[in-house]
Symmetry: C2
Subunit: 575 residues, 2 copies
């Protein structure tokens, strides 16, 4: 939904004012819309685009060198008036005639048509290319009834690059018509947007459903189905578009096309890239050469949840115009002098998988460590929800699944290292890397640091004694405090780790065996972990929202105590 | 929410693969993240950035000439591991040392710190600048505890531009620390994002509320309040940031700053521009010179509904580095040779407001026309909801408010034109322009065309007779059919307009007076309007969703019949 506005009646005017203020280097405002604020070559064709507002970067975001000369900006999702079109054309005119281009909607056809007549009456040559890329909006036999969606961009780009190159109006029209006939899009929608001040969305798609072919203003689509996987959506869109190869493309194999995967507002970049991955593979499989694709937000409908895929089938002339540089508020290409590509084969990428030779004694200790990591994995598996809920009170709730990812990866790495004859030090190092690599987050880092510290004191040669463990834990404590910049009393895992390490060192120095010393130290850690219940907000600044965490212990300290306890049992029962 | 994914476990890997496929000209994948696919100058500093995924264009979208040399990509919202950081650094290293930069989060601090130690051990000089722009995340006295949000970009940009210019690691560190200390941001949130496969959002903000200072992963903010107007939000953000002017800025008046207004995912461009309009004005009022601002999505959190404002306080050196060109998948500046600015004073912008002289008789007729337009406004006002509901069945539901905007504007323009002595022709022309200008959309266009046609036949000289009206209506019919490309039987307004025009012409030709002829023709139009009930889907293609419109008359035909009826009453009671 649209949340930020003043009086909804002024939304478009105010958005335009802000847009022009932010992009004064490239655009300036005229009655009815915007034009370039930079000079164009006299005698060249002016490309004027436009339509309703709410589709940024269409249309105003595409005004600038190498792209449109002007954009007419109607009210939200409403065609601009003929007067607006006329005004923008008069201001954008460079003396070489005007090409008007816009999505093929009835209101736009009417208003741009009226403005064209008036310009012609006044002696300004003017032609129209209404974009018709949306294959869901009418049958192939009725191309002229199809609507324009994200394929607007390819037509505008070709027209403008031709104009920039000094082509005549006739040539600009010929090329943009060719681009129009070679551009095909298909869209899907998951939910509609809500206009500023409106009570409800413009339309809804039932939860869990996807509307196929729904227009960017909610115009009826062709079917409704369950929301598919990203790959299945890619397959749906590509298969439909490959059934719609335009006239003039003899074989798909060997054809060149640009590809636009467009998000309509709330379908975000990472999702689009997941879909694009499969689209790209499918097009390559079909033998298509992909030229300068675009993945992002090219034509939106406020925050509508939807996406569309466009194929723009190229020939030499269209490819050159598509590749030509452009510099607008929202679309830039061809900047800088491109540097040459690197040789990826020569990259320095380290191999972390080596197993050095180890003593018999260290390999025996490695078995015990592997058991401890297996027990760790089990206790975390059993407590993943509990830890998640604890973390959700003050944090982002991912402590449980983060610990689980790490513990699973560490146990698996340990098992493999053991099978390959690793000593205790190498086994712990590989487990440490696996943990921090897979878990991510703060807890992953801390556990990587701790296991690494232990790895260095155990090594692969000596038969580890109780004091090796005590020294390893002490190093872990020190490293965690240093890397994490956490002090005792900060209500973190450090509050449990410090008493554990101190007790372990004391008892080992006093002559206890590892099992007894570890057991006593674990009790100290458990008590300290419970004591991390925050009694005041954690951060320095007074912030009411942090108060909800009062009375909750630190999940990192709790999971540490949990793990120390199961490791104690492994040590106590070891041969 | 995140809708498009396959197995959520693979989301980041698949997004990365799609990203790299789409942007192979600029980036290539290495274990742990991406690096530039273009060669950098040997011996220069490599700037490696990174953090959790889910924040595109941060971080991978910022890799390319003039910006980062590599980006380390952790799991969703989770720090990458030290191994990942190390791998990317090894691959990105140009022999001039490595600058690591990232948002100041505990996990990132840990992992980048570990990787730095390893690089230094291996003889690769490496330094760290953790970005701390979020003023809500800790007090000014504890800058080192602050988190990094959209201000990441300014620090990365300065570091990278310095590296590109061949500065030493020491100089790159000095400048990026300076940028870090001169960058201040503040964010707000309206709702959280939902991770792929998760049941619920990472966090929620109560409906109608705004969380101030909430972190981009949902970290606690400083307060909660009702959602403000766009202007009030601008005032809130600017006032807080102006209380946080960094050391080294002596007076705000005369200072230079860049401004970043960042959307976190679901707050879209038009909203951001509305807010920016006020931000820009407030900063100018404070005497700040604004340098190359950015309004858009720079650091997102999937589709989180939130926004942040960043001020980057410049000095000469930082300004030069901020303005330097860059060419990455998501951030490009400094392309092309900029063309000179235009002279806006010389633009050809027409004046539509002229009132030509008119005969007494035409001015009398104008009074009648003005009454008819007033009656039109009243009947539309009374039926705005009814028309909206009718249109919502098959269209976008805006017919009611569109007609209202148009009728109100036309009646107001007519009243003004009458007061200024306009004849019937001029009054109708100005009403036509006002209608289509304010209403927008298809209906606005059609009513503009119809009133314009009538304007041309009535003119400002003759005393209009019944046949002038009949001829004007016939021209309106012809123009609407021509511009709209609609035929009789298409179930549009044309289906009512044609019988109206035909009956009016016949009755006038047969000698009826205007009132009688108009009344009889209105009856024909009313019957025909009801008859526009669609019996089969309107569009050529079989589409199940269009079936819901069966049995509903066309709202444009219905509103036409409504208006003809009230105009008949005006004519019948005219002097």
């Amino acid at each position: 939904m649209t949340r930020l506005y003043n009086d909804p009646v002024n939304f478009v005017d105010e958005a335009t004012a802000g847009f022009v203020a932010a992009h004064a280097q490239r655009v300036c405002q005229v009655p009815g819309g915007v034009i370039r604020s930079t000079r164009s070559e006299p005698g060249t064709v002016a490309v004027v685009i436009g339509g309703g507002s709410g589709h940024y970067p269409a249309f105003a975001g595409l005004v600038g060198q190498g792209l449109a000369h002007g954009a007419v900006m109607g009210n939200l999702f409403a065609s601009p008036s003929a007067q607006q079109v006329y005004n923008v054309c008069k201001a954008a005119n460079n003396g070489g005639g005007v090409l008007l281009s816009f999505g093929n909607y009835a209101g736009d056809v009417l208003h741009f048509g009226q403005a064209r007549e008036r310009l012609i009456r006044e002696g300004i040559p003017c032609e129209i290319v209404a974009v018709i890329d949306d294959i869901s909006s009418a049958d192939r036999e009725e191309l002229h009834k199809r609507r324009g969606i994200a394929g607007d961009l390819t037509v505008f780009k070709v027209a403008a690059a031709a104009a920039e190159a000094g082509y005549s109006l006739e040539e600009v029209v010929r090329l943009s018509r060719a681009a129009n006939l070679r551009t095909r899009s298909m869209g899907v929608a998951f939910d509609g947007c809500t206009l500023p001040g409106a009570d409800d969305a413009l339309f809804h798609v039932p939860a869990g459903k996807m509307a196929v072919g729904l227009g960017i203003h909610g115009e009826p689509g062709i079917s409704e189905q369950d929301v598919p996987s990203a790959d299945a959506l890619a397959e749906l869109l590509v298969s439909h578009l490959l059934e719609e190869v335009p006239d003039g493309i003899e074989t798909v194999r060997g054809a060149r096309a640009s590809v636009l995967l467009n998000g309509l507002g709330a379908i975000k970049y990472e999702e689009l890239f997941v879909v694009y991955r499969r689209v790209h593979a499918l097009l390559l499989e079909a033998g298509i050469e992909i030229v300068e694709p675009e993945v992002g937000e090219l034509v939106t409908s406020l925050d509508m949840a939807g996406a569309s895929l466009t194929l723009f089938w190229l020939d030499d002339e269209l490819e050159r115009l598509w590749r030509a540089p452009a510099d607008t508020p929202a679309y830039r290409k061809g900047s800088l002098n491109p540097a040459p590509p690197i040789d990826t084969a020569a990259l320095d990428i380290p191999d972390a998988d080596e197993i050095p030779a180890a003593s018999q004694a260290s390999r025996a200790a490695a078995r015990c460590v592997e058991q401890a990591l297996r027990a760790t994995r089990e206790v975390i598996d059993a407590n993943v929800d509990k830890l998640g809920k604890l973390d959700a009170i003050a944090g982002d709730g991912d402590h449980g699944i983060g610990m689980q990812r790490g513990a699973v990866a560490a146990a698996e790495a340990a098992e493999q290292a053991l099978a390959r004859g690793a000593g205790a030090g190498t086994l712990l190092r590989q487990a440490a890397e696996a943990w921090s690599d897979r878990a991510g987050g703060t807890s992953g880092a801390i556990w990587g640091v701790m296991l690494n510290a232990l790895s260095l004191t155990l090594g692969d040669d000596a038969a580890p004694q109780a004091e090796h463990y005590a020294r390893g834990v002490a190093k872990a404590k020190q490293d965690v405090m240093e890397f994490g910049k956490a002090k005792l009393g900060d209500k973190t895992l450090v509050d449990a780790l410090v008493p554990f390490s101190d007790a372990l060192s004391q008892r080992v120095a006093a002559g206890d065996d590892l099992a007894n010393a570890w057991g006593a130290a674990t009790q100290a850690a458990q008590a300290a972990a419970e004591d991390t219940q925050t009694l005041k907000p954690k951060l320095g600044r007074a912030r009411p929202l942090a108060e909800k965490s009062l009375g909750t212990p630190d999940p990192g300290a709790i999971s540490l105590a949990m793990i120390l306890d199961v490791v104690h049992r492994v040590i106590a029962t070891a041969d």
